[in-house]
């Protein structure tokens, strides 16, 4: 994981979860952090704005998403993959 990406993703998730980034660890899930569906779309929006990427997430089919949000660390990896252009990003306008 690139440290700068990790720091920024942790900071985004922490802000939405009303935690300090130091309380987060890579294996934590968004559920554990108490993020509801609105918090989730806020996280996705902040990621898109921060990294200038488009996250392929559809709230109607969260399971079908190609963006792994199973844990905080998985999100960091997924963001890195998006930044390297390794993932289709047409699912979200």
């Amino acid at each position: 994981m690139r440290p700068d990406v990790q720091d920024q993703v942790f900071s985004i998730i922490a802000r939405e979860a009303l935690r300090d980034p130091s309380e987060l660890s890579a294996e934590m899930t968004l559920e554990e952090l108490g993020l509801d569906s609105l918090g989730l779309v806020e996280v996705i929006f902040a990621i898109e704005e921060t990294f200038d990427v488009s996250v392929p997430f559809n709230a109607n089919e969260p399971a079908a998403t190609q963006f792994d949000m199973s844990s905080v660390g998985a999100i960091v990896t997924a963001v890195e993959r998006l930044m390297s252009g390794g993932n289709p990003s047409s699912a979200v306008a």
Binding site: R15, G39, V41, F45
Partner: protein, 401 residues
């Protein structure tokens, strides 16, 4: 039929936050109209309005709440909290039998304005993900329902400048008929932004220098913003809980001109006033105060005067009439609710708010408009007029209790 009272009132508007503070400002004849301050205001030809100043949303709501609350929702929640507290309620006492109706013309207009700016002007390709639930017109009643546990009928009403009166009138009818036990009702508007004012100035009805209702020098309306929300319930339930009824709502009528979309109609307005009096069982001679629609446009004030004359006959000479929009601006969908605060002051405190900015008599507007200075008077019954673009009229009748 059941007797229906207002047992709690709340407001935030450019005059003040709070009913007591707003009434004090109205009694003093204070004018909250001034220079507008927001992005791109220099591109407007109309640069005055009654804007709520010194308001810090982040001091009142969390970041998570603000992601969902457009200013019009914030104002409704602030007014609703004041009203509920005055009524002695933390939550709806019987959730399934309590609801909420909020009038608004623009809904989350500021949110829409900002989102359009982002995608059209700034060529951004995404807007905040919660833009839709934030801008929808029913956001205010929905968040009031969530906050206070109102699980009965809740919805928004959009009838432009009559939205608040329609909302309050419907709530009154629902409580009176027994359909519900109690309602939060009122209106909220927050359209003072570049896109909103740009649209309004195009209509050529806005004054560049001030709101002077019923005065010969009047040259248009001045827009305001804010909310008024009221707890409306039966007299029985209010007194059983130890709440103090502020006034009784006794009548309501609504009519449609079904003619011109912007030009007011004497017959439509008169029919709404007549209907409210008949519904209330109040004779014109009993009415001590009319809170006029009184926008300060040439057409409204002339036609409203003629409508009052037509319905009241000789009693028109005796009734005190005022247009408080000269103080708090035209709060569009929220205006009837803010103006109901003046009706409560007349009925409860015997103080009639003045029509400020009155400087020159107009032969077409020849009634008693309580010019410039508040007046003491015993008021047993009051009317609140609202005549909207679209030709939709809504008049409320209240009695002292």
């Amino acid at each position: 039929m059941r007797r229906v009272v207002i047992s709690g009132a709340g407001t935030i508007n450019a005059l003040a936050e709070g009913v007591a503070q707003t009434q004090a400002a109205m009694e003093a004849g204070r004018c909250a109209i001034g220079e507008l301050a927001f992005r791109d205001v220099e591109r407007l030809s109309i640069r005055i309005g009654a804007q709520i100043k010194g308001y810090d949303a982040s001091a009142r709501f969390t970041a998570q709440e603000l992601a969902l609350y457009d200013p019009f929702t914030q104002y409704a929640l602030i007014a609703g909290a004041e009203a509920m507290a005055q009524a002695g309620l933390e939550r709806a006492p019987d959730p399934a039998r309590w609801g909420c109706i909020i009038g608004t013309a623009g809904g989350g207009h500021t949110t829409a304005n900002n989102a359009y700016r982002a995608v059209f002007a700034e060529a951004k390709n995404r807007v905040h993900p919660l833009t839709v639930p934030k801008l929808m017109g029913n956001a205010a009643p929905s968040h009031l329902a969530i906050r206070f546990g109102l699980q009965g009928p809740s919805f928004a009403v959009a009838t432009a400048c009559a939205s608040s009166n329609h909302a309050i009138g419907l709530a009154f009818q629902m409580v009176r008929s027994g359909m519900v036990e109690g309602m939060l009702a009122g209106g909220s508007e927050a359209m003072l932004n570049f896109g909103g004012l740009k649209a309004w100035e195009g209509l050529r009805v806005m004054s560049p220098d001030g709101c002077r209702p019923f005065s010969a020098s009047r040259n248009g309306m001045v827009q305001g913003e804010g909310a008024g929300v009221f707890v409306i319930e039966t007299l029985e339930s209010a007194t059983a809980r130890g709440a103090t009824p502020l006034a009784e709502i006794v009548g309501f009528a609504m009519t449609s001109d079904a003619s011109d979309v912007v030009m007011p109609s004497l017959d439509g307005a008169a029919a709404a006033i007549t209907g409210a009096l008949a519904d209330a069982g109040v004779a014109p001679e009993e009415v001590g105060y009319i809170n006029a629609h009184g926008t300060g446009t040439a057409a409204n004030d002339r036609i409203e005067t003629a409508a009052i004359r037509q319905v009241f006959g000789a009693a028109a000479e005796l009734v005190a009439i005022s247009a408080t929009k000269a103080m708090h601006g035209h709060c569009i969908g929220g205006t009837g609710a803010v103006e109901l605060v003046a009706c409560l002051m007349a009925l409860r405190d015997g103080v009639i708010a003045p029509t400020i900015g009155y400087d020159t008599a107009d032969p077409d507007c020849d009634l008693d408009y309580v010019p410039n200075v508040a007046r003491r008077a015993e008021v047993g019954a009051a009317l609140s007029n609202a005549f909207a673009f679209g030709g939709l009229n809504a008049v409320l009748a209240l009695r002292r209790i």
